[in-house]
Structure formats: structure tokens, C-alpha cells
Symmetry: T
Subunit: 70 residues, 12 copies
């Protein structure tokens, strides 16, 4: 059995958790079987002296079923 891990960054104005969920649901449209999301970097975009958006980089892992893309 082989798993693949890809790196996405979810961006949300609500929360760190929301940014992760966004990355997971966006990836799930075309990739099935994602089982884990590891958070590797958390940052905030600041605009007008306030946190405007959370940018959370995650590593998503899933079992490889079909062809592996280059």
C-alpha cells in the first residue's frame, strides 16, 4: 500500500481550524480517501492593523488508488 502527501495552504478570515477545513474540502473534490492533515505552518495576513486572513499550510495524506500524476 502506498500513500501520497501533498502540500496545500488553506486561507480563511475566520480561524486556523477553518483554514485547515477549507484546504481539506477543496482537495476532497478531486481526491478521495484523504485521512490526515498535518499543520506545518501558521501565518496571518495583516491589513489595516488587524488580522485579515489566516494562512495555514497543511500536508494532506491519502491512499493512492489510481494512477499517480507526475
Amino acid at each position: 500500500m502506498v500513500e501520497k502527501t501533498i502540500e496545500l495552504t488553506g486561507i480563511s478570515s475566520n480561524s486556523i481550524e477553518d483554514a485547515v477545513s477549507l484546504a481539506v474540502s477543496r482537495a476532497s473534490v478531486t481526491i478521495s480517501g484523504i485521512h490526515t492533515a498535518e499543520v506545518t505552518h501558521v501565518a496571518a495576513v495583516v491589513e489595516n492593523n488587524k488580522v485579515a486572513r489566516w494562512k495555514v499550510r497543511v500536508k494532506l495524506s491519502f491512499i493512492v488508488k489510481d494512477e499517480l500524476h507526475e
Copy 2:
């Protein structure tokens, strides 16, 4: 004075903060004097294309009062 540090992982379906709190309260049942929880790893378990649970690893530190266990 000597402190001990142990590593726990709190698991919660609500939030990252909730997972940390869970680890702290579970440990506090038998360990008194915990003063710090450092977050060392944050991951999410994904089920049915959604974040189902937050798994947050923490290092809990407390002052050693009684015997140290092996």
C-alpha cells in the same frame, strides 16, 4: 527544584484549543501542579472529506513533588 515534562496528545472534534484543554484536564486527575503546555504538533483526522478530530500533541510540565516514576 526539578520539573518533569511529559508528552500527551489531546483529541477533540471541536478545536485545537479544546484538544489542548482535554490533555491538560486528563493529566490533572493524577498529576498536580501542571503549569505549562507547549504545543509541538497539530494534525487533523479527516473522515468523509471533513475534519473529524483535532489531534494536538503537547508537552506538559509540572514540579516534581513526590517520587519520580521510571
Copy 3:
């Protein structure tokens, strides 16, 4: 163009996000043009077996406009 990065720790009893926002707004009183806050360390102060405060260290970056202080 030159940016400067400073290291602050926001402390909040509410959430990790709130601690970051606090650091950003406190810095914005005297520093203009902050655009990014990178989270580098997350810890919780534990009191009476509960998380009492979130301590989140962030690196704030902003464009240097005026004089650089030693």
C-alpha cells in the same frame, strides 16, 4: 525595499487566534505597515488544572519607512 521582522508574544485567555490579534494590534499602535504575522510557538499557561492563558509567539514583518532603531 527593506522589511523588518520583530518577535512578540500575544497572551490571551480566549484563543490562539485572539493572542495573535492582540500582538498585532499592540504593535500597530506605534508601527505602521505590518503585513504578516508568522506563528512560531504556541503554549498554554495552566492554572488550577485548566488552560488559563494562550501564549503565542509571532514574527511580525513590516516595511521599513523611517529610521531603523538599534
Copy 4:
């Protein structure tokens, strides 16, 4: 010349080496020209008090010949 690096996890009940080989051969079905596999993480799944499977994360590198996928 440009190379691409992807991250896979080989899972084998035999050995660490076997898990790496599995990831390499699975990737080679659709990707040609893989020349290196760097091991970045080694873990074991434990079941019934025994190591049941080796999970070895590798970074596979290969020369980009055709189109790069998003």
C-alpha cells in the same frame, strides 16, 4: 533541466527497505526517470503488541520530461 520531488509513504509488513521499494515501484508505473528516494520519516504501526507494518515516508525525485501537473 528541472526535477520534481513528490512525497509518498510506502507501507510494508516486511522491512523499512521493502516499504521504500514499494513506494518506488508504485510511482514508477506512471512516472519515468525516478533517480532518488530520500527517507524523511520512519514509523511502525503496532497491532496486538507487535509491529504490524512499516510506514516509511520518502521524497522521490525525477527529471521533468512532459507537462507538469498542478
Copy 5:
């Protein structure tokens, strides 16, 4: 749910895998429900110009069921 992680070093004259398995089975005598062993350090003890023993440090994780020891 809360998991605990402890750090052991398995020592074996046979192989890296064997050293991990040894740490897992030794821990399983008194700890039930170990599910993962992450390898964090691999070294070899050299005697008479030969590798005499493999020393492999692992982080073992298991679900906390009963009391947590200090």
C-alpha cells in the same frame, strides 16, 4: 480522548527493525493499546571494527485508559 507518548530505545544485534520490535514488545508487557512507534534516532554501537548493536530510539503512543503516572 487522550494519548500518551513515551520515549524508549530498543537495542538489538540483528537489525534496525528488530530494535524497534524489541522496544514495542518490552513496553507492551505493562502498557496496553500501543498503536504507533515513530523512529527518532538510529545509531550503531561499534566494537572491534564492526557494528555490534543497533540502538533505535522510538516514540511509542498509546491511548490513556487508567491513571496517568507522574
Copy 6:
């Protein structure tokens, strides 16, 4: 909004900067909207006692517009 990050290695006989530019332009043939390239590793291939080629690994990030490939 979701971004993806992929890992490429640009190889150039001229300079470190040229190797990064090569990776960026090669990726841009099929991927639109790349906005950042982070350098994660710099090495040189040595031939006949001279640096023959610079190999620079970069993480390229871009906004996900269409389908995400496995």
C-alpha cells in the same frame, strides 16, 4: 481560497538565481498563478574539480483554480 505548493529543483550552470528562474519558468508552462518560490536547498554538482551545475530546490506556491490532481 486554497494554494498548492510543489517542490521542484532547477539545475543551471550559471548561478543559483538562474536555477530558481528555470524552475519557475518550466512550471509556468502548465501552471498559472505561481506567486512565490522558497529556496529550501542549494547544492552544486562538481565535475573535474569545478562547479559544473547549481541544483536549487524550491517550493513553488500558486492559487488552486481548477481541479487538484492526486
Copy 7:
């Protein structure tokens, strides 16, 4: 043979070495066979503009003889 590693922090007003020695002797009351202490973090508590105490985190390793505690 299996070794266990635990994490303690020795706190001393004298020196970094003294803080390590304190952690070692406190642990030795109940744990026999400690053979190594690796220093992983050194900090100083500052009071009234002076270093008041050295806090030195160490990883203590010892051979497991009896039962392993959860």
C-alpha cells in the same frame, strides 16, 4: 535490552552544570541505572535585572529493569 528516556528540568541558582546535576540526583532517588543526560534547552529566569535561576532541560536515559509505567 531496552532503555527509557524521560525529560526533566533542573533549576539552580548556581550554574548550568548544577541544574543538570540536580535533575540527575533527584531522578536517581527512584530510578536506578541512569547513564546519560542530554541537555536540550537552557534558559535563565531573570529577576530584578539579574539571572536568578538556571533552568536546564535534560533527557535522562536508563536501562529498563522492572515494569514500565504508562
Copy 8:
């Protein structure tokens, strides 16, 4: 003797070296005695499929002569 280290990011469209030099000369307007610049992060801003600017984060160190600012 005490040195201070500050973190700047030089941004240049020419080269990595030029970005470092820019940070050094900008800081030198108000800070005297800078003796070292350590490169800690190199990235490129990509625009229209090309590297538009090099962003190089450096740690600048200098001997503290006058008052230290908060």
C-alpha cells in the same frame, strides 16, 4: 561586551547578494558597527511567470554602544 541581532529582509530585483547588501546599507544609516549578516531565508516573488524580486531574510549583528531600545 554585548551584541544585538536584528532581523531584516532585503528585497531586490537583481540578485540574492544584492538583496543582502540592500538590507545592510539600509540598516547602516542608523546603526553603526554592523559586522555580520547571516542569511536565514531566501525566497523569490514571482510575477508573470518570472522571478520579479528576491526576498532574503538576514540576521544583522552589531556591538551595542549606546542605549538598547525596547
Copy 9:
């Protein structure tokens, strides 16, 4: 509440501890409320085949009371 962290290097011919103390006392002339000094790097300057000076880099943290300087 917000804390700031600055990076200094204390240099002393006596000891590592002395170098840290020097950085703390020098910073305390103009900054009040320093509570922690984390050691991040220890080096020795060697002259005439002997250690001539200890250079110890520390991160000093203190509560921000007044204005934050750029």
C-alpha cells in the same frame, strides 16, 4: 498582554553563565521587566590555542509597557 523578545549576544572571558548575565544586565539598563533569557547559541572565540571569550546568544523576553519601537 504582549511580550517582546529581542536577541542579544553576551561576550565574556569567564564562563557561559557570565556571558548570559552580561547580556541581561546590559539590556536591563534601558529595558525593564525582562523575565526570561533563552540560550540559542554558544560559541567560543579561540586565540593563541585557547578559549579567549565565550559568545552566548540569548533571546530576552519582557512585557511591553510603553511604546514599541520599530
Copy 10:
């Protein structure tokens, strides 16, 4: 007493363990008293879609008896 540490890479078509052993025995021809080999990097050379060779970088440590070479 003073130890020296050198960095070698053993290359073997058999296994990770074999690659370490090879580095140890090759070094032992001219260096006596090697006592430890720490594994710092594991990679595989891939040829024809298969792992052809294991390349394992180790740090070998030994007590310095005679002259230290530049």
C-alpha cells in the same frame, strides 16, 4: 579525553544496515577505536524503477589517540 567525529556515507545494494557496516569497516582500516555510528541521512539510488543502492550517511566517533589531522 577528546573524541573526533567524521562523516561518511556507506553505499550498499543489500540493506540500510549493510551500508552502515560498510562505512564502519572501511573507516576501521586506518582509524582505531571507533565506538559509535549515528545515522543522519538515508537515501536510495533508483535505477530502472527499482532501488539499486542504499546510501546511508553516518557520523563515526572515536577517541583521538595520535595526532589530529587538519
Copy 11:
């Protein structure tokens, strides 16, 4: 087959690339078969408010043919 890795720092007033090349050519006078130079640290010596020299630390690897020196 066994490779050795040594650590050199090339120092050049021209560029980062030049500093690496210098280290490679200096080492090649007495060591044959160097095939790779990995950059592990980049710094600049600053004099009179300008970058005076680039100091680039590299790990040079080569196949061991003759005797290994202590």
C-alpha cells in the same frame, strides 16, 4: 563503496557562487573525485557599512579511494 564528507567555508568578495567554487577548487588540490557541494550556511562579513566578503559553508562529498585520515 564509501564516500567521505568534509565541511569547508569558502570566502569571496564577489558572490555566493564564487565562495562555493573557491572551496571546491582549494579542496581539489589534494582531494580527487569531489562530486557534490551542499551549501549549509551563508553569511556576509560587513565592513564600513558594506558587504565585504561572502562566507559560505559547504559540505563536500567524494569517494574514498585511499586511506582515510583520522
Copy 12:
């Protein structure tokens, strides 16, 4: 100009500083021009429930004057 960096471990029953000094003076017997010793690892050998010896690994750097040894 080219510098070389070698890795030694000084072992002393007195102090961390003494262990570094020992490595420096031992290396200086055959190597001239050592200018820096960076501490990379500090450990203590424990015997009979007490710290018996400090083992401090250092990276010693010096300017290459004569031939570089393999």
C-alpha cells in the same frame, strides 16, 4: 581564502567550559589558526547517580594554510 571545520567532543569532569577548552587545546597541538568553537551538543555521563563527565561536541574552524587531508 578557505576555512575548514572539524567536529570534536571534549570530555571533562569539571565543567562544560572545560570540556570545550580541552577539545580546543588538543586540536591546537597539530592544527594552527583555530579561531572559533561552536557548541553543537552537550551531554553528561552519569555514574553512581552523579554527573561523572561532561561531553561537549564542538565544531572547530580554522583557516586552511597547507594541504587539505582527505
